[in-house]
């Protein structure tokens, strides 16, 4: 039916998938998005193979609600484009089709490929050739990064197709790379971040050979384009499972390979290594709590939290400085930290600036609270809310109490651990 995965004569037996019929798996069409089903059915009616792939199948099997539904087919992008009037071909090197629906919903349809998006193939002159290398479903399953993401749901007979042993790994609760982990991480080191993200998201453990391969290849992550690391990293930050993910990254040393400057706070030479690590993880534990309640936490707050242990490690205490000099000193140190950690990865400038401002506001906020009121010049700042969120998280991590005067200056349910129904008296702020 399909082309053989291997050139004729090289391998005697092409890969045979494990096919799990509908009666033996729990995925019902009721739980699949209506629009994704429309796309699948139309492709199937026109004689193409249409599979639901990737994270959506994994989430459906785990009983979660998938965030997006990806479809893979053997139709070429232009064929998909002609089938759906509401579609657009996107991507220069890795072409796929976005099918648009009402309410801004997008279903991503891609053609089976034999090579991953980020495995670059260079010609003899060193030019990168286009990675549009269409392949068979088996090749498409094998190019994916981890086994539990390599499952296909076929719309023709509602069965699950497993080329890579993903079902067994789902049952065992194991994250394993497809193929040899050393080879896979060498091809694309960003896969290490993805393995850690999936492990923390699902709560599964990382397979031993994969874990050991991460330890061996963690320093290769520096060779990746910074923009890709930034994208993966921001995705990590916004996932709501940052604490376990950073815990694993610290355990494997991947975080220190990504940000070598963090050696100052978390490295073996730091006398407060353990305390700094615990503090860092507790900060993100609280951020996760907030994220799971509200759905998102402002990016500048996350970046500021990320920088906090580093800033604490590099700023010596200079009690003999005057108030103004101390402010200027702090400003310079924060700017330096921002420059050293975030600039190489070109994080969005707006977020960086707000992160800088809210970090700088913290001591002013603390001093104002000691005086018993929040001056208007602070309250009218655009970033005041973010600054209070950061203050609240830092205070909770240090087990300090936030005075009611600060809680009254912002919506009372800004942070989940604040008292539920505060008695709100007459709101009065000291004027300066």
């Amino acid at each position: 039916m399909y082309q053989s995965l291997y050139p004729k004569g090289d391998q005697p037996n092409p890969l045979t998938p494990l096919i799990i019929p509908r009666s033996e798996h729990p995925i019902s069409r009721k739980r699949i998005d209506e629009e994704a089903l429309k796309v699948l059915y139309r492709l199937h009616r026109h004689g193409f193979l249409a599979y639901l792939v990737g994270g959506s199948v994994r989430d459906l099997l785990l009983g979660k609600v998938p965030r997006d539904f990806d479809v893979a087919t053997n139709a070429h992008p232009h064929e998909i484009n002609t089938l759906f009037r509401n579609s657009r071909i996107i991507g220069r090197r890795f072409r796929l089709v976005h099918v648009f629906f009402k309410g801004g919903k997008i279903v991503e349809v891609s053609t089976f490929r034999s090579r991953s998006e980020f495995e670059e193939v260079q010609t003899e002159d060193g030019n990168i050739i286009r990675t549009d290398s269409f392949g068979t479903p088996a090749e498409d399953a094998l190019r994916r990064d981890i086994t539990i993401n390599g499952l296909f749901y076929s719309i023709s007979d509602f069965s699950l197709i497993d080329y890579v042993g993903g079902m067994a790994d789902l049952k065992r609760g194991v994250i394993r790379t497809i193929g040899d982990p050393d080879e896979r991480f060498q091809q694309d080191p960003v896969r290490m971040i993805r393995v850690i993200r999936h492990a923390s998201r699902t709560g599964f453990s990382i397979d031993d050979p994969t874990y050991r391969a991460i330890l061996r290849h963690r320093d290769e992550i520096q060779q990746c384009p910074p923009s890709r690391i930034r994208d993966e990293f921001l995705r990590d930050l916004k996932e709501g499972v940052v604490q376990p993910s950073f815990g694993l990254m610290l355990e494997t040393g991947l975080l220190l390979s990504l940000f070598p400057d963090f050696q100052r706070a978390f490295g073996d030479r730091s006398p407060q290594k353990e305390r700094n690590r615990q503090f860092f993880l507790s900060l993100f534990g609280l951020a996760d709590q907030l994220m799971n309640r509200d759905g998102s936490v402002a990016e500048p707050v996350l970046l500021a939290l990320f920088l906090t242990p580093f800033i604490q490690a590099i700023t010596p205490d200079h009690p003999f400085l005057g108030e103004k000099e101390r402010y200027l000193y702090r400003m310079q140190t924060n700017r330096l930290a921002l420059h050293q950690i975030l600039v190489p990865f070109s994080f969005p400038r707006g977020s960086k600036e707000v992160a800088f401002q809210i970090l700088l506001t913290q001591p002013s906020l603390e001093r104002a609270l000691q005086r018993g009121g929040i001056p208007k010049r602070l309250r009218i700042k655009k970033y005041f809310r973010e600054a209070v969120v950061l203050y609240g998280i830092l205070a909770e991590a240090k087990r300090e109490k936030v005075p009611p005067v600060l809680r009254n200056a912002v919506p009372w349910d800004l942070l989940p651990w604040w008292p539920k129904h505060p008695k709100r008296g007459h709101r009065r702020f000291n004027r300066y």
Binding site: D268, Q272, K273, I314, P316
Partner: protein, 122 residues
């Protein structure tokens, strides 16, 4: 008896670190000295000498059945104690922490500190 530091006076010459390691381990290795000078990353001339404050209530010994006076006179401590110190005052190399034993009552760093940034108080 303890050493008092006056950071604005410190010129950052590292002589105190050199003499500390030389006195205790017969080696010039500023990482293995009980005093260390924290310089900032901004390249300013502000240096902060950091060393054990000889606290009365020794948080570093929390949970240990150690005799305080005996421990105060020891130069080599372990990392666990350094991590308990609220002032991050001990230098750590590997699992060993270096603690100021006041050189048995005659601190050598004071002798070499020409700007007089370190002094002995009671």
């Amino acid at each position: 008896m303890r050493l008092k530091v006056d950071p604005p006076k410190c010129s950052g010459c590292h002589l105190c670190e050199i003499v500390c390691s030389l006195f205790h381990i017969n080696l010039i290795n500023i990482e293995k000295s009980a005093i260390r000078i924290k310089k900032d990353d901004l390249d300013t001339s502000m240096n902060t000498p950091v060393l054990c404050r000889q606290c009365n209530e020794m948080k570093c010994l929390d949970g240990e059945e150690a005799i305080k006076d005996k421990e105060k006179n020891r130069y080599l401590w372990n990392r666990v104690r350094a991590e308990r110190c609220p002032f991050e005052a001990l230098s750590v190399v590997g699992d060993i922490a270096y603690h100021c034993d006041l050189c048995g009552g005659d601190p050598q760093c004071i002798k070499v500190c020409t700007p007089r940034a370190i002094s002995l108080t009671r």
